[in-house]
Amino acid sequence: MNQQDVIIGLENIDKKFQNTPALRGLDLSIHRNEMVALLGPSGCGKTTTLRIIGGFERPDSGLVSIRGKCVFDKKRFIPPEKRKIGMVFQDIALFPHLSLSENIAFGLKGSKSDKNQRVGEMLELIGLVNQGKKLPHMISGGQQQRVAIARALAPKTEILLLDEPFSSLDFQLRRQLRQDIKKILTQLDVTVILVTHDQYEAFSFAERIVMMHDGQVMQDGSPLECYQNPKNTWVASFVGTANFIPAKIYEERIVTPIGILMNKQRETSGDYQIMIRPEDISILPANKGEEQGIVENSMFLGNREIFFVKLGSGQSIRVQVQTRGNIRLQDPVRLHFEHYKLFKKA
């Protein structure tokens, strides 16, 4: 990707709300037709970032450009209605007094027949043909959100901002709608930014994840990268579950409470934390006296089992394995692992 492809650019954005910083020197570029998820806990600044792109918040300082044109700097502020960016909201926000067709036509300009044609196209796109006369409260939440997306896309919008669009729906519906909408959006030439606090939503929807925390970008990469190769302990623990075990490196060896490993990456000697995903650990029954830990709690999840193993050091480790049923509470066990990630202690 070269610089030409950048459709949205944020440079060194600062934003405070009543003296609490929401964004601190944020830099972010989004490329044409990318599907990006801004992922982070509530208060991390992801929604503020989205609203700054949309023009609903003014940054305190920095520079925002859209389609190569500056829309915000010290002198300039282009209001949202001039930015030609579609937005879909958590609370759906279909106008309750307008029919579905009227909602979709809300942002359209031009002759009546042009409008009708475009509304027809959009209704077809979202699979609600012949339902245009209904009022929003007459259709389901999932259908409402699809109409909201149609409304945002109707004026031939190239950029679509989705602010937690699925979180007002129940779990089953959410998964279904996510797939539907992803399918719709990948057909179109549209750049999508999704804001969410739900990592599974982000992983299944986007090809690029921007992890945010305390108003800064923690990691920016593919879902797999973020999961397998987190840049820091915060990312590691926010994405999936992680065990952190203290480790020491002496020259060529990594010494941990559950075994000694070779220092293949040639890390410098010192105190470390070793991060291991629960599914990367295997668990074996052990004879008394040879155990590394004792099973103190377990959860049965059908095809999987989760064990909490108390180590000799007192620390509890989470282990997730395929269900075999050969290990019970209070059993002495040994643990084995291969994938891991080292973080140097500050």
Binding site: E81, K84, I92, F95, R151, P155, S168
Partner: protein, 541 residues
Amino acid sequence: MNFFRSWSGINLFLCLLLSIPLFTIFISIVPPKIEIWSYLFETRLIELLINTFYLTIGVGVGSFLLGTSLAWIVVMYEFPLKKVFDWALILPMAVPAYVIGFVILTAFEYGGIVPGALEYLFGIEGFYPDIRSGLGVIIVMSLVLYPYVYLLARSAFRDQNQSYLDAARSLGVTQKMLFIRVALPLARPSIVAGVSLALMESLADFGTVAIFSFDTFTTAIYEVWFGMYERSAATQLASMLLMFNFIFFWLEYRTRGKAVYYQSSGASRKQKSFRVSLPKKIILFSYPAIILCCSFVFPVAVLIYWALDVWDMQVQSRFFEYAFNSLLLGLLSGLIIIPIALILAYGKRLNPGIISFLTTRISTLGYAIPGSVIAVGVLIPLSWIDYRINDITSYLWDYSPGLILTGSIAAILFAYTVRFMTVGFNSVDSSLLKITTSMDMAAQSLGLSRLGIMKKIHFKLIRSGLLTGFILVFVDVMKEMPATLLMRPFGFDTLATWIWQLTSEAMAKQAALPALIIVAVGLFPVIILIGLDKKTSFGED
């Protein structure tokens, strides 16, 4: 247990009793009395219809413009004293329209405060606008009745999800057009409901139109009843007024239900105010300030000035007697209405279903019926009973006791009970609704009898609701004018009827003290309202 079953019987009985006036008016229309209608048509019906039409359109437009614009400004913009205006703009509700009416009328008259001040301050002489006109009535009523629209429009704007506005802007709507394209259509049900309430009040008003010599149905009923003793003509006029009022009653009821769809669902973003420049801020500050001055500050200030001016004469006059009468009627009405409201609301709770729904609904129609209509509807059956009593006594003992019921305090109290049952019932019922059935079940499972639940749980929880209802009834009775004028016993006056007497004799200054008392008392429910309002609107902060 049987006692609780028979409760719906009690409700039905109360419902029948309370619907006597309405029923009387209804049956008087059928069969239509051709000669009376043609007589009315020839004399004044056309004028009355035109005036009513004019008043409805005028007050409708006036209260809509004032209420909606003030609500929008207060919700959406930042300007000095915004938080104060937010509640202060409700204050005109405490002032009966007829009080503002006579204050403004007197203040603009020859030798009044306004022309005097203009001459003294600016040297403008001979400024005497024709206030005593239809336009004058409309302005005065709009100034007093806009809070109905303001309250409902404001909560509609406030509850409007910020996302609606953001969505509209992302679709190309400018900040200035948001009001027209999004906010106003969304608030429409609430605004229609508010305007309907204001129009119901304006149709029921007697005092203001009487002072301004602007004939409407209420004044015509009064004149026909007293001036011509044409009871059936008055009844027909009352039926017509009732019909108009029910149109707005129905409109209000219908749109209220609709407003539910227009509220946002789920989590919503807090409303963000628009930032504006300093000159605009000054304009935004001046507008509500001027409205509040005209509708509350100026009239109250003038009343205080006048009351002090004629203080000695007041004390000598019969002020205390009339104040006592008002107080007595208010207290007695509260003591009658609140227990009945409690019985109705409790019956509805014990036996929910279509019958209790209908009985409570019909029993509480009174607020939709103008006082003059109720008065006529009460007087007709009562005078019928009086005549029968006289027939019987003169036949048996050759003695006529005269009119016992008509023109008695009991008759007035009955009319008040019908008219203000709604107020009492709503506050009792809403406090009773907060007690969930699972609370009852929890108490029952812990061994409390039904009577015990009533005593130990329900009564304790609804006490404040009962008190609120009592205060609201008391204040409404204090302000009530047309029914009292039509029904009071000879030589009996309340503060409200006294104000009417004094103003019709051009003694406005003397009317200032009783008017001030009514305004002061009227402030209580408005303060309660403001308190409730703050709880709901600032609860999240």
